[in-house]
C-alpha cells in the first residue's frame, strides 16, 4: 500500500478490521486483498465448524507482525457478535443466508445476523464503516426499458416476496436494517452489490444463463449480457468500499468490464469444459413461461410454488446492460483480472473437476 493510497483511507494499517464470512468464496480473497494492502490486524468471525486452514496459512505466510485472528462464533449470538466487534474500525459483512427457498431461514441468517452486528457496534462505538455486502438480486429491473443500463440509481424490488425468492427478500431487508441503524444512531455504512461472482471454487452456471430444473438445460439468457465479476475483482471492490474516505451511505454495483453474452459464455463453456445439450428459449417464450407459471401457481393456490414469475424474469432474464462507472469513479477500482483471463481460470477449474455446472 503506497502512501498516497493510504492517505485516502479511513483506517490505519494497525486498526482492527472484522470480516464475517472470511472462509467463504469471496471472504477468503478479501482477507488476502487486505493483507496485500498491508493491513495487519484482521479478525475473522467463523463458525465453529468452518475450515480455517487457509486463514491460518495466510497468517503464517505474511508474518512480520501480521495478525489474522480467527474468532469462532455464531452471528445469531449477540454475545459472540459483541465479542467480535470489540475495538473494530471497519466491518466487512459478507456472511449471509443463501437459502433461496425458506424465507425465515434466509431472513434469520441475513437480517438477524446483521442486526446483531449493528447492535454490537453500537455498544463499542468505535466503528468507522460497516460494509454491507448485498447483491444484484435486489434490483427490480422492471421500469427499465429493454437494453437500458442498470446502475445504482435503478429501483430495488418493492415487494421481495413477489419474486418468491427468499434470498432477494432477505437482502432487501438487510439493506433496510443497515439504513435504519444509520438513520437512528448514525452507524456509517457503504453498500456493495456484486453481480454474479465467479471463479475457481464456485463453478456452477448462473441461473442468468439458464436452468436445468426440468432435467435438461434451458438456455434462457440468449444474447443478454451476464453481470459477471471475477472473485478477486469483487474482493478488490469490497476492500476499497471499506477503506476509501468520503463515500458513506453510497451504493456500488460490482461488475467487470467486457462482459460476455449468455450465448457466448455457454458456447465457451461447452468448448472448454464439457459439452451438454441445451435448448434455447427465446425471450418471449421465457416470459410466457414465467407469466403462465405464476398465474397457474396463483390459481392453484400454491399447488406449484411460483418459482418462475414475471418479477424473476425481469431481474434475471430481461436484456440489460450494466455499469461499473461509479465504482471506477468513486473508488478508483479497476479489474485486476480481465474477463478473458477470469473465464480462462474458471473454465480450467471446472475442467479439473473442482465443481460442476
Amino acid at each position: 500500500m503506497n502512501q498516497a493510497e493510504q492517505a485516502n483511507f479511513i483506517v490505519r494499517k494497525n486498526d482492527p478490521i472484522l470480516i464475517t464470512g472470511a472462509t467463504g468464496f469471496i471472504g477468503s480473497r478479501l482477507v488476502e486483498n487486505l493483507l496485500d494492502r498491508g493491513f495487519c490486524n484482521l479478525r475473522c468471525l467463523c463458525r465453529p465448524t468452518s475450515e480455517v486452514t487457509r486463514l491460518e496459512e495466510l497468517s503464517g505466510f505474511y508474518r512480520g507482525g501480521v495478525r489474522v485472528e480467527v474468532v469462532r462464533g455464531n452471528l445469531l449470538s449477540r454475545k459472540d457478535c459483541t465479542a467480535a466487534m470489540e475495538d473494530v474500525a471497519v466491518v466487512f459483512h459478507l456472511a449471509t443466508g443463501r437459502d433461496a427457498r425458506s424465507f425465515p431461514d434466509a431472513f434469520m441468517n441475513s437480517v438477524i445476523t446483521t442486526r446483531n452486528l449493528l447492535e454490537a457496534s453500537k455498544q463499542h462505538d468505535c466503528l468507522k464503516r460497516f460494509v454491507n455486502v448485498s447483491s444484484f438480486t435486489v434490483y427490480a429491473n422492471k421500469q427499465n426499458p429493454r437494453r437500458r443500463l442498470l446502475d445504482e440509481t435503478c429501483p430495488i424490488e418493492g415487494d421481495g416476496r413477489l419474486r418468491s425468492d427468499a434470498y432477494c427478500f432477505a437482502k432487501i431487508k438487510q439493506e433496510e436494517i443497515v439504513a435504519e441503524y444509520n438513520r437512528r444512531i448514525g452507524i456509517p455504512y457503504v453498500t456493495v452489490r456484486p453481480g454474479y461472482v465467479y471463479g475457481p471454487g464456485h463453478e456452477t452456471i448462473t441461473n442468468r444463463v439458464g436452468i436445468d430444473t426440468f432435467g435438461f438445460f434451458l438456455h434462457l439468457g440468449g444474447s443478454n449480457t451476464i453481470p459477471f465479476t471475477y472473485v478477486e475483482n469483487c474482493a478488490e471492490a469490497i476492500a476499497l468500499a471499506g477503506l476509501i474516505e468520503g463515500i458513506d451511505g453510497e451504493v456500488f454495483n460490482i461488475v467487470d468490464d467486457d462482459l460476455p453474452s449468455s450465448s457466448l459464455f455457454l458456447r465457451l463453456y461447452k468448448r472448454d469444459v464439457k459439452h451438454f445439450r441445451s435448448l434455447y428459449v427465446p425471450h418471449a417464450a421465457s416470459y410466457a413461461l414465467c407469466y403462465l407459471w405464476e398465474r397457474y401457481s396463483e390459481w392453484s393456490r400454491g399447488q406449484v410454488p411460483p418459482v418462475f414469475n414475471c418479477s424473476k424474469w425481469h431481474a434475471f432474464w430481461k436484456k440489460t446492460r450494466y455499469s461499473n462507472e461509479r465504482l471506477k469513479m468513486r473508488l478508483g477500482w479497476k479489474p485486476k483480472i480481465s474477463t478473458e483471463e477470469g473465464l480462462r481460470r474458471y473454465f480450467e477449474s471446472c475442467r479439473n473437476g473442482k465443481g460442476h455446472a
Binding site: T49, S102, P104, F107, I112, R161, Q303
Partner: protein
C-alpha cells in the same frame, strides 16, 4: 370467525400461515416470536393483523381462539400450557412434547378446561393416508392389524443442514433428548400408534451414527434407527429411520389377517395386497397385472387431484387444521385422538431412553425390552 395466532415464526410457521389462509372462517390475528424481527417478517408476508415479541401480550391483546405453536420443541410444553390456561385451543407442531408426561399434563389440562389440542402429525391426513384409513375402517384388513412397517427416511446428503446443527453447539436440535431423531421421527411413529391398540407396547430400539455423519464430525448424533414394537395381543411393528438408505422411503405397510396395504407417501400411492392366493401358475401371471392396474389407478387419482388443485405439498396439514377448527366449532372430537398423541410420545420416549443413554458406546446396541407405562 375463528381467531388464530401463531407462536414461533421460523420455517414451519410459514407453512402454517399459508395453509391457514386457505381456510374460510378464520383469520390470523397475531404472530409472535421472542425475536421481534422474525415475527415482523412473517407479518409482512402474510395477511396477519399484528406481530408481537411477547406471548402474554399476544394473548391479552389479540385474544386468539386457537394458537399454533411452531417453536422449537423444548418450549412446546410451557407455551401450550400457558395458552391452555389462557383459554385457547392449541395446535402443537411435532414433536408434541419432549416427554410423555408433559403430553399427559397438557391433555389433562385441555380436558379440564374444555379445550381442544392436536399434534402436528399431518402426514396422517394426506390424500393417500385418508384413503388408507377409509379402507381400514371398512374392514379391508379383515381384522385388527397383525403387523406394520413404517419407514421414515431423511436426506442429510446435502451437508448444509447437517453442518448447520453440527456447526452450532447451541442448535436446539442438539439439546433435544433424542437429538436429530426427536425432531423428525414423530410422523413415522404416529402412523404405528394409530393402529396399535394397547397402551403399553414393548419397544426395542437400536440406533447408531452413520459413517456419513461421522465424517462430518457428528459422533454423538444418531441418524440410523431400527425399532421393534410389540403388543401383548400379538400385533407387532417395525420402524425404520435412515438418513443413508436409498430410496429415501416414507412408507407404511399394514397387514391384517385377510389383506394388507402399502402406502407410499412420496408417490401418493396406495396398493392393496390381497391375502388370497390364486391357483397354480395364475399366481405368477395375474397379480402383476392387478398391481399394474392399481398403479395406473393411483396415477389417475393423482392426476385428478392435481387438476382439482388438491395435490399440494402440505395437503395433509391443510386437512388437519381444517378438521381441528371444525372440531372446535362443532364441539366434535379432535382429528387425532389423544390416545394416539400419548402413545406416540411414549414410544418415542422409550426409544430415546434406550438409544441415547448408551451413546458413548460406539455402535450396535440391542437393548433389553422395556415396557411402557400407561400411567
Amino acid at each position: 370467525m375463528l381467531k388464530v395466532a401463531i407462536v414461533g415464526c421460523g420455517k414451519i410457521a410459514d407453512v402454517h400461515a399459508s395453509q391457514i389462509q386457505r381456510i374460510g372462517g378464520c383469520k390470523i390475528v397475531g404472530v409472535c416470536d421472542k425475536e421481534p424481527l422474525m415475527a415482523r417478517q412473517l407479518w409482512e408476508r402474510f395477511p396477519v393483523e399484528r406481530h408481537y415479541g411477547e406471548l402474554a401480550e399476544l394473548l391479552s391483546e389479540a385474544r386468539p381462539d386457537v394458537v399454533h405453536i411452531t417453536t422449537p420443541p423444548q418450549s412446546h410444553f410451557d407455551i401450550a400450557r400457558f395458552c391452555l390456561e389462557w383459554g385457547c385451543h392449541v395446535y402443537v407442531e411435532k414433536p408434541f412434547t419432549l416427554r410423555a408426561q408433559e403430553a399427559e399434563v397438557l391433555i389433562a389440562l385441555a380436558n379440564e378446561r374444555g379445550l381442544k389440542l392436536t399434534a402436528g402429525h399431518d402426514d396422517q391426513f394426506s390424500n393417500v393416508a385418508r384413503r388408507m384409513r377409509r379402507l381400514v375402517q371398512n374392514g379391508y384388513l379383515g381384522g385388527p392389524a397383525v403387523h406394520m412397517e413404517s419407514y421414515f427416511c431423511y436426506d442429510l446428503g446435502n451437508p448444509t443442514y447437517a453442518r448447520a446443527f453440527l456447526g452450532d453447539k447451541y442448535h436446539w436440535v442438539r439439546n433435544l433428548p433424542g437429538k436429530l431423531l426427536h425432531n423428525i421421527i414423530s410422523h413415522g411413529i404416529a402412523r404405528l400408534a394409530e393402529f396399535l391398540t394397547s397402551e403399553s407396547p414393548q419397544v426395542m430400539a437400536y440406533g447408531f451414527v452413520s459413517p456419513f455423519l461421522k465424517s462430518l464430525g457428528g459422533n454423538e448424533i444418531i441418524d440410523e434407527l431400527r425399532v421393534i414394537v410389540s403388543e401383548e395381543d400379538g400385533t407387532t411393528a417395525y420402524f425404520t429411520f435412515s438418513s443413508q438408505m436409498r430410496p429415501l422411503l416414507h412408507q407404511f405397510r399394514i397387514y391384517g389377517p385377510a389383506n394388507g396395504l402399502i402406502l407410499d407417501q412420496d408417490h401418493e400411492t396406495l396398493i392393496k395386497l390381497r391375502g388370497t392366493k390364486l391357483k397354480s401358475y395364475l399366481e405368477q401371471f395375474v397379480p402383476p397385472v392387478v398391481f399394474a392396474r392399481q398403479h395406473l389407478k393411483n396415477v389417475a387419482m393423482n392426476v385428478r387431484a392435481f387438476l382439482a388443485r388438491e395435490l399440494r405439498m402440505s395437503a395433509g396439514m391443510s386437512y388437519l387444521i381444517e378438521s381441528f377448527y371444525r372440531s372446535i366449532n362443532e364441539g366434535t372430537p379432535p382429528p387425532i385422538p389423544y390416545r394416539e398423541i400419548l402413545l406416540t410420545a411414549r414410544i418415542m420416549e422409550s426409544i430415546f431412553h434406550q438409544i441415547c443413554a448408551n451413546l458413548p458406546r460406539e455402535h450396535i446396541q440391542i437393548q433389553p425390552q422395556s415396557t411402557l407405562s400407561a400411567d
